[in-house]
């Protein structure tokens, strides 16, 4: 990627959680024996009496958080996104979502870019699962700055929320602050010919793709859809209307992810040709993050190629 690398989004989470902890005494934090990786360790060091290590027992951890929330605390709960969503989905469903409790989940090591540890630790379905929890907000920030905003927004969100953060250093997208708000898409680049919508690490890739396309005379709009849920349907539909084609890119399975949410919104209001960059029905593997992103097609080149394909098709039509 051509953008300078900033801190990992998990590191930004750790720092922002520490800051929030200073401001809000009701915040408590739970982790599932991964505090050194999820970066809740910063909070744990500063507020040991408000930090609970649930051990390797994710289901119990989510129930504990529900109880703490019902008591009146504001719990943040972390683990790898894979274990958080996959091992405790039913607890989120009943103990948290159905109960309507404001528990905040931050899953780290989202996507395949965690690299060498491989499939068991990779979360490529967390967004699909979180979207399937009524009342949950779902945010996938792109860089450190946006993570800080998203974590704060999660704390303020009235119900439960899930935020996905990542392991590797993240390309800087937002230099002078990020105006992230739940339910709002951020149009970070204007464009007429095609829209590139993305979040997480794929947002920087979308910007790079837009650069490439610009050099070919194609004007690509770029939307940051960090707020997967609620989705800014208006802005998405506007993009469909004004640019006539949309490529959605995400570090996630295509099934149930961001692309599917955008596809439904667009189909309902302003059907236009779309393309989807993400993982088809497959597991990834161990490897260096960049190599994996390349091998599994999560790249700026791929986004640009899909955009070109949509434009060619429009030209033919």
């Amino acid at each position: 990627m051509s953008r300078p690398l900033g801190p990992a989004t998990r590191e930004a989470y750790g720092q922002e959680l520490l800051a929030l902890g200073r401001e809000r005494p009701e915040i408590v934090v739970l982790d599932g024996d991964l505090s050194k990786s999820t970066m809740t360790k910063h909070f744990a060091e500063a507020f040991p009496e408000r930090f609970f290590n649930a051990g390797i027992a994710e289901a119990d951890m989510v129930g504990l958080a529900a109880g703490l929330a019902r008591w009146g605390k504001l719990p943040f709960v972390s683990s790898f996104a894979a274990f958080l969503m996959s091992k405790a989905f039913d607890q989120m469903r009943i103990s948290v979502a159905y109960a309507g409790l404001p528990v905040k989940f931050v899953g780290s090591h989202g996507g395949i870019s965690l690299g060498e540890d491989g499939v068991s630790q990779m979360s490529v379905e967390d967004v699909a699962l979180a979207r399937a929890l009524p009342g949950f907000a779902v945010f996938v920030p792109a860089d450190a700055e946006e993570t800080r905003r998203a974590v704060r927004a999660a704390a303020d969100w009235p119900g439960p929320a899930f935020v996905r953060v990542g392991r590797p250093k993240a390309p800087v997208v937002y230099e002078g602050g990020c105006p992230f708000q739940p339910g709002r898409a951020l149009r970070i680049r204007e464009g007429r010919d095609v829209t590139l919508a993305a979040n997480g690490l794929m947002l920087a890739a979308a910007l790079d793709a837009a650069d490439r396309l610009a050099s070919e005379g194609v004007s690509a709009r770029v939307l940051d859809l960090c707020s997967v849920k609620p989705l800014d349907e208006d802005e998405v539909v506007r993009a469909a209307r004004e640019t006539g084609a949309i490529v959605v890119a995400e570090e996630h399975l295509l099934a149930g992810g961001l692309g599917s949410a955008v596809a439904m919104a667009v189909a309902a209001e302003e059907p236009v040709p779309m393309a989807f960059v993400g993982l088809a029905d497959t597991f990834a593997e161990s490897g260096r993050p960049e190599e994996l992103m390349q091998k599994y097609g999560l790249t700026a080149e791929r986004i640009a190629a899909e955009a070109r394909r949509l434009l060619r098709r429009r030209a033919r039509a």
Partner: protein
């Protein structure tokens, strides 16, 4: 102000000791009667596990727990979680008997728009602390409440009622390990040891024995008790308040019970795990309970 046996005072006005006047055995039968009628009216529900828990719930609501139906969100209330959520009718009966909800509302059980969901919903009802129905989750939520209470130095106890079959869920043991580690002595787990789960006897499906030894090995202070001796149950449940002498361990009460207890043809008959009585069965069951209560007791129920 001593509570009358008919409508026990459960609020803070009544000192705990004063409530020893409540006839818990009769109260348990009144809860059974309400639960029975509720289930019959709804046409579906779980009598077996409601009846086995009647004395436990009676002891909690009308003796052991500090709570005030006029202030369901009273911060100093003791908390109760029905982890075996399918026994909702016995909980709803207690909520009605205690005055949290109207007796008449019990007729809406399981109907569209009702607050009386098939399994308890924290968003819908007063004095309900957790949404349950998916087995295995309640003890974790209870431990979270107990932890919160301790963080804030609140003099509050938390009670969770589990099924014995439910103890096959690994999450129960996760919660047990965590609670013991944190010495949540303000937490009490009650296991309704009625020896049956949905498909049959627990020991034939996936045996739980030695159940008390399991809880002990997980660091709990275990008391075994006859779950239909309401006074004995109350004594086992009434752990010292956090500000009192600390047990330093959470308590598990293994209450030996009979599924369907209180109605002869339901006792140990697991088909009544989850089906409503027919109209004839309803009458026979009603007659049995009424015979025990006497007409006076029934009028109030």
């Amino acid at each position: 102000m001593p509570a009358s046996p008919e409508l026990p005072a459960v609020g803070p006005a009544s000192a705990l000791g004063a409530r020893t006047g409540v006839d818990l055995a009769r109260t348990a039968d009144r809860l059974r009667l309400l639960a029975l009628e509720m289930i019959a009216k709804a046409g579906s529900g779980h009598p077996g596990g409601s009846f086995s828990a009647a004395e436990i719930v009676a002891a909690l609501f009308f003796r052991v727990m500090r709570h005030d139906p006029k202030r369901p969100e009273w911060p100093a209330r003791d908390r109760f979680i029905l982890s075996k959520g399918h026994a909702a009718p016995i909980l709803y009966a207690a909520l009605a008997e205690a005055g949290y909800i109207e007796r008449g509302e019990l007729d809406t059980l399981r109907r569209v728009g009702s607050r009386l969901q098939g399994h308890p919903s924290v968003r819908d009802l007063p004095y309900v602390e957790a949404s349950t129905g998916s087995l295995g989750q309640g003890l974790s939520v209870a431990a979270g409440l107990a932890l919160g209470a301790r963080m804030d130095g609140a003099d509050v106890r938390v009670f969770a009622l589990l099924g014995d079959g439910e103890c096959q869920e690994g999450q129960v043991w996760e919660a047990a390990m965590f609670a013991a580690h944190h010495r949540l002595s303000n937490l009490v787990a009650i296991v309704d040891r009625n020896a049956f789960q949905l498909d049959g006897p627990t020991e034939a499906i996936v045996a739980l024995e030695p159940l008390a030894a399991k809880w002990r090995a997980f660091g709990w202070d275990v008391v075994e008790v006859d779950g239909h001796d309401a006074e004995a149950v109350a004594a086992a449940l009434d752990v010292p308040r956090p500000d009192g002498r600390r047990a330093a361990r959470p308590r598990a009460v293994v209450a030996r019970t009979v599924k369907g207890r209180g109605v002869s043809f339901m006792e140990g008959q697991n088909e009544f795990h989850g089906r409503a009585p027919t109209p004839e069965e309803l009458e026979r069951a009603r007659a049995e309970i009424v015979a025990r209560l006497g007409e006076a007791g029934v009028r109030r129920a």
